[in-house]
C-alpha cells in the first residue's frame, strides 16, 4: 500500500455537491461512485443525475432516505442509464420519475460488491486502490459540529445513518486517516470533506463498504 493515495489526484472525482435539505445522501454517494468509476475507465467526468435516482429508485424513499446498497441493486437489476445532471437536474425534493428513450446516452452499473471490512481497513484501502472510490455508510451524528481535523473520538460505529464516498487515505502522519467526500457543500468541513481515522472502525466507516463497476 502507498502511504498516501487520493483519487482526486487522478482527476476522477467531481467537486463536492450539496444535498441541501433533502435526505438524499444515499443517492449522492452512489451517483458519485458511478461518476468516478466511469472516469477511471476514461469516460468524461460529467455530473450524473442524482434526481433520477431519488425519483426512480422505487426501493428507496427519495429525500426521506434510502439505502446505497438498495440503490446499487436497483441500478444493477434495471440497467438504468444514469443521464447527465443537466438532463435531469437536482431539485432537492421528491418528484415523478422521468423516463428516457433507450437511445439516451448515460452510464449504467454493471455490478457492485459490498463487504464488511471492519478490522480489515488495510484490505479496504487495497479495494479503494483496485476499484476506485468506495461508498460507505457512517454514524454522522457528531458531524453536525465538525470543522476540521481527524475524527477519532465521539464517533462510534453505532447506528449507520449517513452515506458518503471515500476517495483516498493518508498514512504519512501520526494518525492515518480516510479522505471522506460528503454531500453538504464545500463550506462544510475541509472543503466539503472529512478526515476520519483509519483503523478502529471510527464512525462505523468499515461496516458496509461498496465498490461500483460500470
Amino acid at each position: 500500500l502507498p502511504l498516501r493515495f487520493d483519487w482526486r489526484d487522478k482527476h476522477v472525482v467531481n467537486h463536492v455537491r450539496n444535498q441541501k435539505m433533502c435526505g438524499g445522501c444515499w443517492a449522492f454517494s452512489v451517483v458519485s461512485a458511478v461518476e468516478s468509476a466511469g472516469a477511471i475507465q476514461g469516460k468524461p467526468l460529467d455530473y450524473l443525475s442524482v434526481q433520477q435516482v431519488i425519483d426512480c429508485s422505487f426501493n428507496n424513499y427519495g429525500c426521506r432516505g434510502g439505502s446505497p446498497l438498495g440503490a446499487l441493486s436497483w441500478l444493477n437489476e434495471t440497467q438504468l442509464k444514469l443521464v447527465a445532471d443537466s438532463q435531469y437536474p437536482f431539485k432537492a425534493e421528491n418528484g415523478l420519475c422521468r423516463y428516457f428513450p433507450p437511445s439516451q446516452s448515460g452510464v449504467s452499473v454493471k455490478g457492485f460488491s459490498a463487504y464488511d471490512f471492519s478490522n480489515q481497513e488495510d484490505e479496504m484501502a487495497r479495494a479503494l486502490l483496485s476499484f476506485g472510490p468506495l461508498v460507505v455508510i457512517v454514524d454522522a451524528v457528531s458531524w453536525q459540529d465538525y470543522l476540521g481535523g481527524i475524527i477519532q473520538h465521539h464517533c462510534s460505529s453505532g447506528e449507520a445513518n449517513h452515506a458518503v464516498l471515500i476517495t483516498g487515505f493518508d498514512k504519512t502522519g501520526n494518525t492515518p486517516y480516510w479522505m471522506v467526500r460528503n454531500s453538504w457543500g464545500n463550506s462544510w468541513g475541509i472543503e466539503g470533506y472529512a478526515h476520519v481515522k483509519m483503523g478502529g472502525n471510527v464512525c462505523g466507516i468499515a461496516d458496509s463498504v461498496a465498490a461500483v463497476f460500470v
Binding site: 459490498a114 455508510i137 473520538h153 494518525t175
Partner: protein, 75 residues
C-alpha cells in the same frame, strides 16, 4: 416540520455551543478533529438528523480475510 422561531434557533445555537465545548474539551493532539459553529449550528440534533442523515443501515458480508477461503460443505 418544526415550527421555526428566532427563540428556537437561539436555543439550538446555545445547545450547539455547549456541545462544542464538550467535544473540544478532550485532551488531543493537533491533528484531532475540532468542532464549532457552522451552517448546522442553528438546528437541534434531532432536526439535523431528520434532514441530513437519510441513509438506512445496510448489512454486508464480512470480507474474507487473506488466505481464508470459504470451505465447501463436505459431507
Amino acid at each position: 416540520t418544526w415550527p421555526w422561531s428566532p427563540q428556537r434557533e437561539a436555543a439550538a445555537l446555545r445547545e450547539s455551543l455547549n456541545r462544542h465545548r464538550y467535544l473540544n474539551s478532550f485532551p488531543h493532539d493537533n491533528s484531532t478533529a475540532f468542532y464549532g459553529v457552522n451552517q448546522f449550528s442553528y438546528l437541534f440534533p434531532e432536526e439535523f438528523k431528520a434532514l441530513y442523515l437519510g441513509s438506512k443501515p445496510a448489512w454486508a458480508p464480512r470480507y474474507p480475510a487473506k488466505g481464508q477461503t470459504p470451505i465447501p460443505n463436505v459431507s
